[in-house]
């Protein structure tokens, strides 16, 4: 029945950071319920391209395989998404795989997302509770607020919003929607709020919130459905107020 059915994959490859990219086509035997990851695993098992030539296995990144880690993002048939939840049965063939263009390519489909992690460090996307003595319990968080904040906490730093944003590119140093929304998350936490002004001032720096051009692609593509544009608009309000406080002089916090 499905014995001789094949899946055709056209993969944009690159041997290392400095070498040019090229396309390679693969034909692999069809199995039921495959996703892009299992197709790539099949190529790794038997690295032979569609011309029957022996080649190097395709490099890619993956970790959780359940769309919560964000590591396996790539451009599949023109759309940036996670390869673990991209089911072969639902994809048009040939399946075209490319690395996301916003990030430096390490090899093949493997990209370096460190710019996002650097941005998270820059905005201090955490709750600072470390100290030399026990600080005791923090303030309570209201349950409805916790539920609301949980939605923002679903961000997995997958990079799809940066890939879709026309203002995140080599000509600009815009940090992109994901780290901005994390500022909103940590500024709404009762303990995180204690560093609110500091985080706002960070995103008011170059490459921060004002580089947003409101194309609103981010909210359309976010695989976790995070209200990114609402976060940005809300932070626009917060930073506007903060800038007035900073300039005209009021309590900075």
């Amino acid at each position: 029945m499905s014995d001789n059915k094949v899946i055709r994959l056209i993969i944009k490859r690159k041997n290392d950071v400095n070498s040019p990219s090229y396309e390679e086509t693969f034909e692999i035997p069809y199995r039921k319920n495959m996703n892009v990851i299992s197709a790539l695993m099949e190529i790794r098992r038997n690295p032979v391209n569609a011309n029957g030539e022996e080649t190097t296995p395709v490099a890619w990144d993956a970790s959780c395989l359940e769309e919560v880690c964000g590591a396996c993002s790539m451009v599949i048939n023109g759309e940036a998404r996670q390869s673990c939840t991209a089911l072969i049965d639902q994809l048009e063939q040939p399946v075209r795989l490319e690395p996301m263009s916003t990030f430096p390519v390490v090899r093949d489909l493997l990209i370096d997302r460190s710019r996002m992690f650097e941005s998270l460090k820059k905005v201090k996307a955490w709750i600072p509770i470390d100290g030399t003595y026990d600080l005791g319990p923090g303030p309570r968080m209201a349950e409805p607020k916790r539920q609301w904040a949980y939605e923002l906490s679903k961000c997995m730093t997958c990079g799809v919003c940066l890939e879709a944003c026309p203002n995140v590119n080599s000509k600009s140093d815009f940090m992109g929607p994901a780290p901005l929304s994390q500022v909103r998350l940590f500024n709404s936490h009762p303990t995180g709020e204690m560093n609110k002004a500091e985080r706002l001032n960070t995103i008011m720096d170059d490459g921060g919130i004002t580089d947003c051009g409101n194309s609103q692609n981010c909210v359309e593509v976010c695989p976790k459905g995070i209200p990114l544009t609402t976060s940005i608009a809300s932070l626009n309000r917060e930073t506007t107020i903060q800038s007035f406080k900073d300039f005209f002089g009021s309590d900075k916090i």
Binding site: P166, D205, N214, Q216, E220, T230, S234
Partner: protein, 202 residues
């Protein structure tokens, strides 16, 4: 303002687009619209505008400098974008693209328009109905004027939408949808005023 310089420039860029440039655009098009009621009415209106006290100070600080800053900084912003409407063809992404296209058209148009009118006035020409009628007597110039006016009005109307987001006025998706309709209405109304006015010179 040692740090946060970009924040200040971007906010200033956004503010200047509405006050004074947007306000000036509306006043300008309304003055033009006087031509619909006849040559005399139009000449009276321009007479009033050009005989305002401190007119050079007003022109420099409320018109020329804001437009220069908004235009030059705007070009820098416009050419930073890497457009991707083929992949992400949503309404807002197209608006994002049109905002940049119309901005570039508008600044080119304004340069030509200022040359044709203000610079000629400084060289001794009189600003009146006849001056504009002479310009748009050429059908190509009329078409370019209409394109310039529509581009400027679009850039202003859509810019109002972005202004509301940039300053944190419209935060929720619902308020942003409603302001889309409101600014669309503003675009239609002011485009009518602008285009109807220029046709009165034909």
């Amino acid at each position: 303002m040692s740090t946060n310089r970009e924040f200040f420039y971007r906010k200033l860029h956004s503010l200047l687009g509405v006050i004074p440039i947007g306000a000036f655009l509306v006043v300008h098009l309304l003055v033009n619209y006087q031509a619909v009621y006849g040559v005399e009415r139009y000449n009276q209106a321009t007479q009033f505008m050009t005989s305002l006290p401190f007119v050079y100070v007003l022109e420099i600080f409320l018109i020329y400098l804001p437009i220069l800053f908004h235009g030059i900084y705007g070009l820098y912003i416009a050419f930073q974008a890497r457009h991707n409407t083929t992949t992400y063809g949503t309404f807002r992404n197209w608006m994002f693209r049109f905002q940049r296209i119309t901005g570039v058209i508008t600044i080119i148009f304004i340069a030509w328009h200022v040359w044709d009118t203000r610079v000629q006035a400084m060289l001794g020409a009189e600003v009146n109905y006849q001056m504009v009628a002479d310009i748009v007597a050429n059908p190509l110039a009329l078409i370019l004027y209409i394109i310039g006016i529509v581009a400027a009005v679009f850039h202003f109307a859509n810019g109002l939408w972005a202004f509301a987001v940039t300053w944190g006025i419209t935060v929720t998706p619902r308020s942003q949808v409603i302001s889309t309709y409101v600014t669309l209405g503003i675009f239609v109304v002011i485009t009518f005023v602008g285009v109807r006015a220029i046709l009165a010179f034909v």
